[in-house]
């Protein structure tokens, strides 16, 4: 009998690599959606483990809202340089300029929701049949029920009632023309797993994940980075705070948390003790209890 059991990080890693290789084996034109966040950085690391010394069988695709943290873009470009892989960028600004979407107005305006149109345009333009994403089932209730291979119709929509059963470790990626599949290799990871993996693999992250001094305002009870992308008025008081970010989204919808954790060990300790879940720092989920389900049905990541 085999005495050794795989450690949980090894098991999660092996599962994710298996899924990435299934994507390579089953699809003609896959892509890896890269946001610059820690989950997609983890995916890139897993892709290296799945395909090196060969090239990735897919390009990286970044949907750029134009409201980025500068640190993320610097990180992205350095990473692509190091990897020697192809990067495709889809700009939300293009969709705005073409009049396909309207910029939101008011204090809570964000480009987060506008990304969907650019994502679908980019998928159509390049004919991608599978898009690998870094979503995890522990993030949110609707995600908890999504398959690892999640089929979207030609409008990018997810239909929770028509999901294919996913049995054993056999993934059915067959689709009709026009449909595509979103693939989530780290579905079974938790936020803490991702951080533990980043520590184990000694991976670099954009600096905004670590505590730093930043000008912030308080909006809806949460700390937001003061930036030209945030609609501010005289009621918004700018204060310098020591903060870090738990997710990296659009600057106008990603809240910071007050933190002193500037080392990965401190972050892991903070998360272990934390009483606010990661998506709690995303204003875009707060709109209604069924927010994520609605956005996914509409073609969101």
């Amino acid at each position: 009998m085999q005495a050794q059991k795989l450690d949980y990080l090894d098991e999660l890693e092996a599962e994710a690599i298996h899924i990435l290789r299934e994507v390579a084996g089953q699809f003609e034109k896959p892509a890896l959606l890269f946001s610059g966040g820690k989950d997609s950085i983890t995916l890139v690391r897993l892709a290296e483990k799945a395909f090196r010394p060969g090239k990735f069988p897919f390009p990286l695709v970044h949907i750029d809202t134009g409201h980025n943290f500068e640190e993320t873009i610097i990180y992205r470009d350095q990473m692509v340089e190091r990897l020697g892989e192809k990067l495709i960028v889809g700009y939300v600004q293009d969709a705005i300029d073409q009049g396909k979407v309207l910029e939101q107005k008011g204090k809570n305006a964000s480009r987060n929701a506008l990304q969907t149109v650019t994502l679908l345009d980019t998928i159509a333009e390049h004919g991608f049949d599978a898009c690998i994403g870094g979503a995890r089932r522990d993030e949110e209730k609707a995600r908890a029920k999504e398959r690892i291979f999640s089929v979207r119709d030609e409008f990018g929509q997810w239909d929770p009632k028509r999901q294919r059963p996913e049995l054993w470790n056999i993934y059915n990626g067959r689709i009709q023309k026009g449909e595509n599949v979103r693939v989530f290799p780290i579905s079974n990871w938790t936020e803490l797993d991702v951080w533990n993996y980043i520590r184990r693999e000694k991976m670099d992250l954009p600096s905004i994940y670590f505590a730093h001094q930043r000008d912030c305002i308080t909006r809806n009870g949460q700390l937001m980075a003061a930036s030209p992308y945030l609609n501010m008025d005289e009621e918004d008081l700018i204060v310098s705070r020591k903060v870090r970010f738990r997710t990296v989204g659009d600057m106008s919808c990603t809240a910071a948390v007050a933190s002193e954790a500037d080392q990965i060990d401190d972050i892991i300790a903070e998360i272990s003790a934390s009483k606010i879940s990661e998506r709690g720092a995303r204003l875009d989920d707060k709109v209604s209890e069924a927010a994520m389900e609605d956005r996914k049905k509409g073609g969101y990541f």
Binding site: I17, N172, N188, S274, S277, G280
Partner: protein, 415 residues
């Protein structure tokens, strides 16, 4: 620390969602903002406490109807283990969801309402556990608070269940009297049942041994992808990428490529920048062979000490999962790990009434039907019998018109 995947069978009425909610709540696996959303929701128990079942109801459609219509995955961990729960609905119309949840689980929790005892759905759930070969089973006799924590009630139910378990060849059964609503014997031992000397459910989950790994001669790796950089310095590099389904491969092991039968020896094992001496069950690796052999996706590398079965005609248990019934005249696609081939259903041996476990004749299979069929595939499959090696003994059927997954298959015997 390892990971234990388990699934829960039971219906809303048995308090299954409450049980899972209780496990998450009492292990501090609910975070502040989730708790806030929970408290903001207006579903409460009769005594005004929070309805923990809400934690596992994901989709709005389900919340509106108060039922679970899909498999929801939940995560929690203790200092001993990480847990992945596949939460599946228990009504007969969701048999396919239960089969899905059970397919990746190493342990099953079956819930019995103490007031009702072993009922039709208990038989159904237990039959599925047996069919899918889930190795460990915890039978939770729930709502003990509603029967005055009576030892007699508990004993009567365990006796009735043992008779059922014997019929189904379920030999590792653990009984735990619980009240999910009140928290008795879920995370903490209960004071209400001094006659019970076993452990709480959580203690059991943390400590149960569920390796189930097969000896090394069962080494099998379906090839998913061939890595060929074809650069100047890696001109001859040819690595076979895949995940070890079962057994162990070591450097120097004699291997056979199935179904072609070509033989070679493992030259080295790569895991990114490391070269381990052996590849264990569950690892994703890249194997290099001593000889130049023709291998592509869908082939299986197996230990030459014990080859797989190799045939086009197989008797298999089938669970039908599609709204459209099985159509004999159609050619389906069969996907067995990384291999896809055309497949016909040559014959139906029988259908099983899963409430009574009686076999009956049938012309076709409808949604949620289970029974035995004879398959005829276009290409030879390299597989093991499900009872011996489930990881290499299962497949899915795909309807090539709709691309939907229409059935789960477990290979049972030669035709």
């Amino acid at each position: 620390m390892d990971i234990l995947k388990f699934f829960t069978a039971g219906s809303v009425d048995d308090g299954k969602s409450t049980l899972i909610g209780r496990l998450l709540y009492d292990t501090n696996s609910i975070l502040a903002d989730q708790l806030e959303a929970l408290q903001a929701s207006n579903r409460k128990n009769d005594d005004g406490t929070i309805d923990l079942a809400i934690l596992t109801d994901g989709l709005r459609a389900e919340r509106e109807q108060g039922i679970t219509i899909d498999v929801a995955y939940k995560y929690f961990q203790t200092e001993k283990r990480k847990f992945i729960i596949a939460d599946t609905p228990g009504h007969i119309q969701y048999t396919r969801n239960m089969v899905t949840g059970a397919s990746t689980a190493k342990l099953a929790i079956i819930l019995i309402d103490a007031r009702k005892g072993v009922v039709e759905q208990t038989i159904r759930h237990s039959y599925l556990v047996s069919l899918l070969g889930v190795s460990e089973l915890a039978v939770c006799i729930n709502k003990m608070d509603m029967v005055d924590y009576s030892e007699t009630v508990f004993r009567e139910i365990t006796q009735a269940y043992e008779a059922l378990a014997a019929k189904l060849n379920l030999n590792k059964v653990n009984f735990i009297p619980v009240s999910a609503l009140k928290g008795d014997n879920i995370v903490h031992r209960s004071d209400h049942m001094p006659w019970y000397d076993g452990s709480s459910l959580l203690y059991f989950l943390e400590n149960v041994e569920v390796t189930g790994h097969l000896p090394s001669v069962y080494a099998r790796m379906p090839v998913q992808w061939v890595i060929r950089p074809q650069t100047e310095d890696l001109h001859d590099y040819r690595g076979y990428a895949g995940r070890i389904l079962s057994g162990t491969f070591k450097k120097g092991d004699a291997v056979t490529v199935m179904p072609s039968g070509q033989q070679s020896v493992i030259d080295r094992i790569e895991v990114f920048d490391k070269e381990p001496e052996q590849a264990l069950t569950g690892m994703s690796v890249t194997l290099h062979l001593k000889d130049q052999v023709d291998i592509s996706r869908g082939d299986v590398l197996v230990s030459s000490a014990r080859l797989t079965q190799q045939t086009k005609n197989i008797a298999a248990d089938l669970c039908w999962m599609d709204q459209k019934q099985l159509d004999h005249s159609l050619t389906y696609l069969l996907q067995h790990n990384s291999k896809i081939t055309k497949c016909k259903i040559a014959d139906i041996q029988y259908k099983v009434d899963i409430n009574t476990m009686k076999k009956e004749g049938a012309d076709t299979f409808h949604l949620n039907d289970i029974g035995r069929v004879e398959l005829k595939t276009a290409d030879e499959l390299a597989f093991d019998w499900y009872d011996e090696n489930p990881a290499n003994g299962a497949a899915i059927l795909i309807d090539s018109r709709t691309n939907l997954t229409v059935a789960a298959l477990m290979f049972r015997e030669a035709v």
